[in-house]
């Protein structure tokens, strides 16, 4: 990337980013937590959360974004989300089946309902958010050295 991206973009972009990035992040969390009641879910929410970090990175340069979510942390979050999802699946054996929805279903339309579905959404959100962030970092910050052809 050019030097411009090391330092970030202009003041206008930075100011607007400061205002919006939190809202985008919160919106992502909302989408994840209400995945079983309204449209959306772990995947869409996870991507939105990742996009909020990407937004920050584009506006402020990469150092600012890595301060909040380092690459090592992203990698750990990703594996953690994946293991959590697989763990929920294996916990189903408590009731006798792989992937059994073993928690009480609760009352419809409430946030705490639908058994394992919100938990799965959160696990997927961790996995997807961290994964997308990692892909983006790897691809966008890939320095191309065209010298040795």
């Amino acid at each position: 990337m050019s030097r411009e991206h090391e330092k970030g973009m202009s003041l206008i972009v930075k100011t607007i980013t400061r205002l919006t990035v939190g809202i985008i992040f919160l919106y992502g969390i909302y989408i994840v937590l209400h995945g079983h009641v309204t449209p959306g879910g772990g995947f869409a929410g996870g991507v939105i959360i990742a996009l909020s970090f990407i937004h920050l990175m584009l506006a402020y340069g990469r150092q600012e974004a890595f301060k909040r979510l380092s690459r090592a942390a992203a990698s750990v979050f990703e594996s953690f989300g994946a293991i959590m999802f697989l763990g929920i699946a294996l916990l189903g054996f408590v009731g006798g089946y792989f992937f059994l929805n073993f928690l009480p279903k609760g009352e419809p339309f409430r946030l705490f309902s639908a058994g394992i579905i919100p938990l799965c959404n959160i696990a997927i959100c961790f996995k997807v958010g961290a994964g997308i962030f990692a892909i983006f970092v790897a691809l966008v910050l890939l320095k191309l050295d065209l010298g040795k052809k």
């Binding site: 990698s75 750990v76 990703e78 594996s79 953690f80 994946a82 293991i83 697989l86 699946a89 294996l90 189903g92 054996f93 009731g95 006798g96 089946y97 792989f98 992937f99 059994l100 929805n101």
Partner: protein
């Protein structure tokens, strides 16, 4: 009964758990990926042997994931054919994981290799064990995506190019499969394969079967590298690290291509004479074209890759015959090919590990310096060429006898011809690589490390004693039950639904 059903999800869960754990621990502890890779694949081999025993004891086993009975939920089906494929896939994977312990020292970031390896294995096991059409597609994609990355693992020019070509063609193949699934879903309004077969036999197949057959044949044919769709294989297979070449040629094209073709065409759509003759024709074409292209090659791994196309042709020819003997020959050849082709690729990897070249013209007399590699390569070459008493001979013999019995003398002739040409081509390999005069530049060459030797010896032993699979109880429980599943045809539906547990 209940206990043996519960092993089914672990075929997917075990490799996935391994793959998810490795990134967490693998960066700090350098030995951990080796240990996890070998240990988890060994656990899978043990599980597969249990699976064969379970199928023998209980017949078809059906597992409803999440407690939802099919067709509402996803069903996993373990029958004779699945158990057969699981043993093949996991056995080869275990041997290759052991081989990689030493071999992958030549590459950076070993933990990424093992993660992708286990993910690919999870994908293959998932394809083999599932009873649901869309689930098959999902696991097909896991295995494919992992294999794209593994082909590009060396990150050199040619590897990236081969990976890109493979990835594009394979992605298009997957989308053909997905389009076929959409047509099937719209027509039958279900995704469970057994339920689909039931609906199709009640409702009749109509014009839709033509479209769906074409789409599935193109999609799975691309994955299996049948001849009109084979262009990616000779680039992709040689470009990978040797253990992955062995994995791709040995089991990936079989579990994603051949197994899926068998399952869909025999058990879901129902075998018709047209499909049967198309399969036989494509098989014979692959067999002959593959071997002709192989003869002129001087790159050891590229030569082996072309032979993979040719040997897949034998498998498809045998299965396409549709007679019990033909199917059994085809499946037995599938098993044998995964063993000896993996061994050949591991040998080529061993040669590359010690000498750093793949060019046959540069090698010579290596068996003096690398006796174990030379000896195991001799066994594998005799086996692929169909020299008695090695395992390849028996399976080719059965296929040829089946072709003659079915009155297909032409195909039998081509099979014999291809076998002779294979022998010629491997005579060349043996002469140039291992038995010619030792060149001076190779004076310092040493035999490969211990784990590589061990895994090559293990595969060579299976090659020598593979013929015993045709004897007595083993034949009935292992190959016989797999053949039985395909001969049942669309009765598969009844077999599955009577066993929902």
């Amino acid at each position: 009964m209940m206990g043996s059903v519960n092993i089914i999800p672990f075929f997917v869960a075990v490799p996935l758990a391994g793959a998810f754990i490795i990134p967490l621990v693998g960066k700090k502890l350098k030995k951990a990926p080796d240990m996890i890779g070998s240990f988890f694949t060994f656990a899978l081999v043990v599980l597969s042997v249990f699976a064969v025993a379970a199928v023998k004891g209980n017949g078809t086993l059906v597992y409803s994931v999440g407690g939802w009975k099919p067709p509402v939920g996803i069903a996993m089906v373990l029958d004779g054919l699945s158990a057969f494929m699981l043993v093949t896939v996991n056995l080869v994977a275990f041997v290759i994981a052991v081989f990689s312990v030493n071999y992958m020292e030549k590459f950076t970031s070993k933990w990424k290799f093992y993660t992708l390896f286990l993910l690919m294995l999870a994908g293959m096991n998932g394809v083999v064990i599932t009873g649901d059409m869309f689930n098959l597609f999902v696991f097909l994609e896991i295995a494919s995506v992992a294999s794209y990355a593994l082909v590009a693992y060396g990150t050199e020019k040619h590897e990236l190019e081969a990976a890109f070509k493979y990835a594009i063609m394979s992605a298009v193949g997957s989308l053909f499969v997905l389009l076929g699934i959409v047509f099937m879903y719209s027509y039958t309004s279900t995704l469970n394969m057994a339920d689909m077969a039931r609906v199709l036999s009640e409702k009749g197949t109509g014009d839709i079967s033509l479209m769906v057959s074409v789409l599935f044949l193109m999609g799975f044919g691309l994955k299996a590298a049948l001849v009109p769709f084979h262009a990616w294989l000779p680039d992709a297979h040689p470009s990978t690290p040797a253990p992955i070449s062995a994995m791709l040629s040995g089991v990936l094209i079989k579990s994603l291509g051949v197994y899926a073709i068998c399952r869909v065409f025999f058990n879901v759509l129902g075998m018709t004479p047209t499909v049967s003759s198309v399969l036989m024709f494509l098989g014979a074409l692959s067999m002959v074209i593959g071997v002709f292209l192989a003869i002129g090659q001087w790159d050891l791994k590229r030569l082996l890759a072309y032979h993979s196309i040719s040997q897949i042709g034998y498998v498809i020819l045998g299965i396409g015959l549709g007679t019990p003997l033909g199917i059994m020959g085809g499946l037995f050849h599938l098993f044998n090919h995964s063993i000896f082709k993996s061994l050949l690729f591991l040998n080529s990897g061993a040669v590359e590990y010690s000498t750093g070249t793949r060019d046959l013209k540069k090698m010579g007399g290596l068996s003096k310096k690398m006796p174990i590699t030379g000896a195991t390569n001799l066994v594998a070459s005799m086996s692929i060429a169909g020299v008695p008493p090695f395992n390849g001979f028996w399976s080719k013999l059965i296929i040829i006898i089946a072709a003659v019995q079915a009155g297909r003398y032409g195909y039998a002739f081509w099979a014999v011809l291809a076998s002779v040409l294979t022998l010629a081509s491997f005579m060349k390999v043996m002469k140039y690589a291992f038995y010619d005069r030792l060149k001076e530049m190779w004076d310092q060459v040493q035999e490969v490390p211990i784990y590589m030797k061990l895994s090559m010896c293990a595969l060579a032993l299976i090659c020598i004693f593979g013929g015993f699979l045709l004897v007595g109880r083993l034949d009935v429980d292992f190959l016989g039950s797999a053949t039985g599943v395909l001969m049942e045809g669309v009765n598969y539906a009844a077999m599955v639904f009577s066993n929902v547990g």
